[in-house]
Structure formats: C-alpha cells, structure tokens
Subunit: 367 residues, 2 copies
DNA sequence: ATGAAAGCGCTAACAT
DNA sequence: ATGTTAGCGCTTTCAT
C-alpha cells in the first residue's frame, strides 16, 4: 500500500503557455487578473490552467519576492505580559519557518486598552503614503492583532480592510468586521471543561463559586455560561454562585469573602471555586490565609508561574490553558497562505486547543 | 516597542564571493566541503561567511532542488488503523506545507509486527542501486518510521543510517541506534496524569484496576509505573491491582473478571479502572454488561469513535490522548530542517502533548 | 584550483 | 493586446 505525493512533475506557467499557445507573460496576466488580455485567450488559458490543476511553485514565488518581501504587522497588548510573551514566541517561530519565503514581520506591543494609541497604530497601517516623511516604514500587507471589540476599533479595522489589507484577530475576536478569521479559544467550552472537572471531583452536593471579571462583557460571561451548562450536565447536586472580581486583586479577594460570608449565613458549604476571569494570585492567597487548602477544589485558567506553584502545592487542582504559542503561530501561517497562495482560511474560527493541566505536568517523572 | 525581524537584507553567496574576492563557485565549494580549493582561500571564505552570519536562502535552495527533490519515506503500521490514519494526516499536512520545497514524500503502510516484511522494506531503502531494474524508485534521502524495538530491526536501521540516510522514529522509539530523534509521548507521565484524574475523582479509599498489555514489554509497563507513582502522590488511600490483557478482547474481559472476582473475595471495592494498554471496547462492554456504569470511574487512552461514544454516555470519564497528528507532522518538519538546513533536531525526544479529553469535548456547546 | 554560466519557476518591466 | 527578458539565490556542469 504505497502512496506517493506528486508522482510526476507539477505543471508550470511555461507548460500552460505552450499548451494554450501564448507566452508566459500572458498566462501570468490572466492568472493575476492584471487585464490587457483578449477575453477569449484569457478563457482558454484559464481552462488549461484548471485542466492541469496548476498551482504556482511556492519556492519560485518566494524567491522572486525575497528582495521586496511583504510586511506582516502584529499588534499585541502590553498587558498580560506573561501570556502575550508566549504568543510572541509562537509568532516568532512561524516567522522563522517563513523566513526567506517572501515575508517579513514586525511585532509591536502597545497598550491596547488605550483606544487612542491603538486606533492610531491601526490607522497608520492603512494610510501609509509612500512619499511622506517615511522613516523607512514600508507599507503593510497584512495585519494580525488582539484588540477590544468596540465601535471605534471596529471602524479602524474596517478602514484597514477597505485599504486591501487582510486582518486576522487572535485571542479575543472583533465581530462584525471583515476580518479573515479569528484564532482563539472556545470560551464556553472552556467553562464546560471546568465544570466537568469540578463536578467529577466533587460528585456530592455543595456550593461552587464561579469568579468572573465583569458580567457586562460578553467575553467574561461566556466561560460562566459554559460552566453553568456543565454543572447541569455533570454536577446536578451543585449550586453555582457567580461573583464579579472586576479584574483587580482586591475585587477578587472581596468577592470571595462575600461568597463565603453568604454561604455561612445560608449554612451552605463551599466545596469548589472556578476562577473564570480574575486574579488567580488573589484566590491562592485567600485560600492559604483562610486555611482552606485541600478542603476546596479549585480550577483556574492560564498557566502562569504562580499557578504552576499552586498546582504543585495542591492549592489548585487543575488549570485550563489556551496554548498561547498556537495563537501566535497559526495566524501568521494563515496570513502567509492567504497572501501568497491566495487561499483564504478554511475556517472562520480556529479554536486553540483547550489544555487541561494538573499537578502531573509540574512534577518530575523519574526519581 | 517595535521589533522587526531582518531589518536589512540577508547576505548572499554573491556577497561573500565579492568580499572574499573569489567566485561564487568557490564559495559554494567551500561551504559544501567539496574539496579542490586552496586551504588559505577556503579559510578566508569561511571567515567572511561567519562574519556575515551567512545562512542560505531557503527559497532559492528549494527552487534549485524542485526538479530533483529529495525523497522522504515514511513507514507506518497497518494495525491500529484509526490511530495511524491520524498520524498519516499530520504527515500529509507537513508534506503539503513543504510541497515545492525540494522534498517529496512517500508513505507506506505495512504489517510492522511481521519482522520479515518490515526489515525487507527498511533494507530496500539503504541498498537501492541506481542502475538496477529501477521501476522509477528513486533513492531515499530520509526515513521516518514506527517499528518494534527488536535486535533485527535495530540492525536494519543501523544499516540505513550507515548508508547516510537519517532516521526519525515516531510513537514508539528504537533505542541504541543512531536515529536522529524520537517523536512520541512520555508514557510515564501519561500514567501519572491518569492517576491524578482517578485519585482526584475518587479521593476516598478503594481499589483501582490498572489494565496493561504485557508486562514483559517496557513500553507497556511505563504507563503503569507512572500510574503507581501518581497514586502514591495523590491517591494514598487507593490500592492498585495491575492486570495483563495480552492485547486481546478476551484477555481484557477475563482480566477484568479476575480482578472483580478477587476483589469480592477480599471484600475490597473496585472504584476505578485505568486502561493503560488494552482493548477499550472490551472494557466498555464489560462495564455495561455488569451494570457498573456510574459506580466505577474509568480513564482510558486514545481517542477512538467508541471511546468518544463512551465518554458521551458517561461510561468513561476521561481519555488521555497523544495527538497522533503531531506525531506525523513533527518528524517530517524536523527531517526537512535536517536535510536542507543542516540543523539536527534540538532535542533527542520531542514529546507529543498529553491531551486530557472528557465528555466536554464531545458535547455541543450551543443550545 | 578557480571562474563562468545555465537553469530551477515566477514576476514585472520593457518592447513590440 | 501580446511577447521577450532580466533577475531573485543557489547548485552544478563545463571550461579554463
């Protein structure tokens, strides 16, 4: 049972030209729709190309572009450093694989929460007049970014896209704009996974606290929605107490305090905590100070150094990660395929894998 | 905070030639150590190349080779179909990404348990005389395979390597031979993960059955060793009963029967099952027939259709997967880097990710 | 021992 | 509207 890819040579432009009885130049014009060609001839060429299942040779194309590579720009937030550094690593890995392939890459880290700065950076990319006091800034061929999904940002993105520059969003999506695709996690499923873990660890009855950031943000509620659905499926005996941390250390502490206070009043027992969006460190400190380690099952998100320590110490049972490297690597690869092979991403949404990490991942196997 | 890769152009052979005041041909001869060049000139050229941090242009190299690509051969077992089909998909994806990059790929599925067939296939690859009744069989430049770690196989591999053909093993390693590297799972850690899952689901006391294939094979015991270590760490109250299935359906059924019989005799309660190496279907059937679903926590390996059904039905709690696609994709990429960029793999062992899959993965999120 | 040149497939500027 | 050609960087053959 043998299987060989490309048993014989791939067709070239030269071959198409020979069969269609035109010159390579004409074939090129047809395939790139650069006009100035007789419609009938064009049709014939297209026919031959599709008959031969022509696909351009990637190495040749890359070589041709190597003197003036297409620039892909990537904007990442300066916040959440530990996480986005990992994204940048994946991005760099893809860039390395694509070096010499006709692409060049720039990464910019900026305060994406400051809409002004962000929009200015985005705008610059669609209105780069060649002649202007150019500090050597080449025009951008593709844009990859993480940005909040607000009206002004959407507008700025649409302006870039209108200028013919494709955009891929990562980690958090920007809806209702013409982006090519989104690379990020399925937050609802992430919540579902957390619920399954907690439910199966707990089984019996009890109360579970789900800490989220801010319920007005869709992104923050998604995990909780998934979590609640998961508890229905696998932990019917549990009741869920949803609390908002507002993204601060103090907010996290005080919402946990409030949850435990209320549970005491209601003679309910808190047996689990799900940190959907919040400051994990705060939760860890809280558990240690209150001497709750071991009596409360804890599931968090992300994979930071402090989480890994908490896993090792048995404070946290599992943490659900979203493979930041994949979120950097994939968009650049997709952008390349789009820019050079004219293949739009197959999916609108590339789900980054949901990885369950437990203490097993932070322990040595041999001793 | 801007960061641009390769702000200015990369040096070319032409540039080295100009600076070292020789011709491109000479530079090429030096860099490829093809002899026939004055030692002093050679030294000068090497100096210039390293000064400029020269690295060949991948696109140009690929283009040059596109007419006579290097053939990479991949041998996969015909057994374990569902799994190795996935491996083949990863392999094909890498092959697609590398199409036109000077590489061509052939995949062969054969009965790797039949040592004769396997060794014959391996041997063919090192002794392919050009002049012979060649049915078009080109000589192989690299070999990727999964094979049992036995003496005759090792010898055959060593013969291929001696002929100058690099070898990468996947899924199961072949030790003590000159293979470039191994791509596969850390079986001990896989067992550790299983133990953590079961321990944290169970907590209390009870007996856990660990079903393995055959204790005489190192590969089969590794998971069990990791599992036992994990139970020590997270499930001190559990006791482990290790059983051999000998890789058959009947063997699996009968070892489970024996385990339950013995438990009854000893008035112990079996609360969990770990299917380390065995026929998952047998275990599922056993649980259903004995009406044990829900009372016994079950962790398996791999991600087959029947396992997914069992997850959905709540028969199996978690299954531990080893990302077969990654095991196909990675070796070919590494082989390419080795053959074309002269970069040997950084690691001797590329660990395929250990993915924990639960019911959350087989459930719809929106409804 | 070294240099010169052809050619891989594609693009784009130039020529007709 | 169509054809011709130079050139991207590398390898390899041929000529010196």
């Amino acid at each position: 049972m043998k299987n060989r890819t490309r048993a014989h040579r791939k067709p070239t432009i030269q071959e198409i030209a020979r069969i269609a009885e035109v010159s390579r130049g004409t074939v090129d014009r047809v395939l790139h729709e650069r006009g100035d060609v007789n419609p009938q001839v064009a049709e014939r060429v297209r026919q031959v190309a599709s008959d031969l299942a022509y696909a351009p040779n990637r190495a040749a194309k890359a070589l041709k572009y190597s003197s003036k590579p297409k620039l892909v720009s990537c904007i990442l937030p300066i916040s959440n450093r530990e996480y986005f550094d990992q994204v940048a690593i994946g991005f760099a890995r893809a860039a390395r694989e694509l070096s010499d392939m006709g692409i060049s890459v720039e990464t910019e880290r900026l305060d994406c929460d400051d809409e002004g700065t962000l929009i200015e950076a985005i705008r610059r990319r669609c209105s780069m007049e060649e002649g202007l006091a150019g500090g050597g800034d080449a025009t951008v061929a593709g844009l990859i970014l993480t940005a909040p999904d607000t009206e002004p940002v959407r507008d700025a993105i649409d302006c870039v896209i209108a200028a013919g520059v494709p955009v891929i969003t990562l980690n958090s999506d920007i809806t209702e704009c013409g982006r090519l695709c989104f690379v990020g996690q399925d937050l609802k499923r992430s919540g579902l996974v957390a619920a399954e873990l907690l439910s199966k660890m707990l089984r019996g009855a009890g109360r579970v606290v789900a800490v989220t950031g801010n319920l007005v943000y869709q992104a923050h509620t998604d995990r909780v929605v998934g979590f609640q659905r998961g508890v229905e499926l696998w932990g019917r005996l549990l009741d869920v107490d949803v609390r908002e941390s507002f993204g601060t250390y103090e907010g996290t502490i005080s919402c946990l305090e409030a949850a435990f206070r209320q549970a005491e009043e209601e003679h309910a027992e808190i047996v689990g905590i799900y940190m959907a969006t919040g400051i994990n460190e705060a939760c860890i400190d809280f558990l240690v100070e209150r001497n709750l380690v071991g009596t409360v099952r804890v599931v968090t998100n992300d994979n930071t150094r402090s989480i890994r320590r908490a896993l090792e110490a048995g404070i946290v049972d599992y943490t659900i990660c979203q493979d930041p490297e994949h979120q950097g690597y994939t968009p650049l690869k997709l952008m390349y395929e789009y820019l050079f092979h004219n293949t739009a991403p197959l999916l609108e949404w590339y789900q980054s894998p949901i990885k369950i990490v437990g203490a097993s991942d932070v322990v040595d196997t041999d001793d």
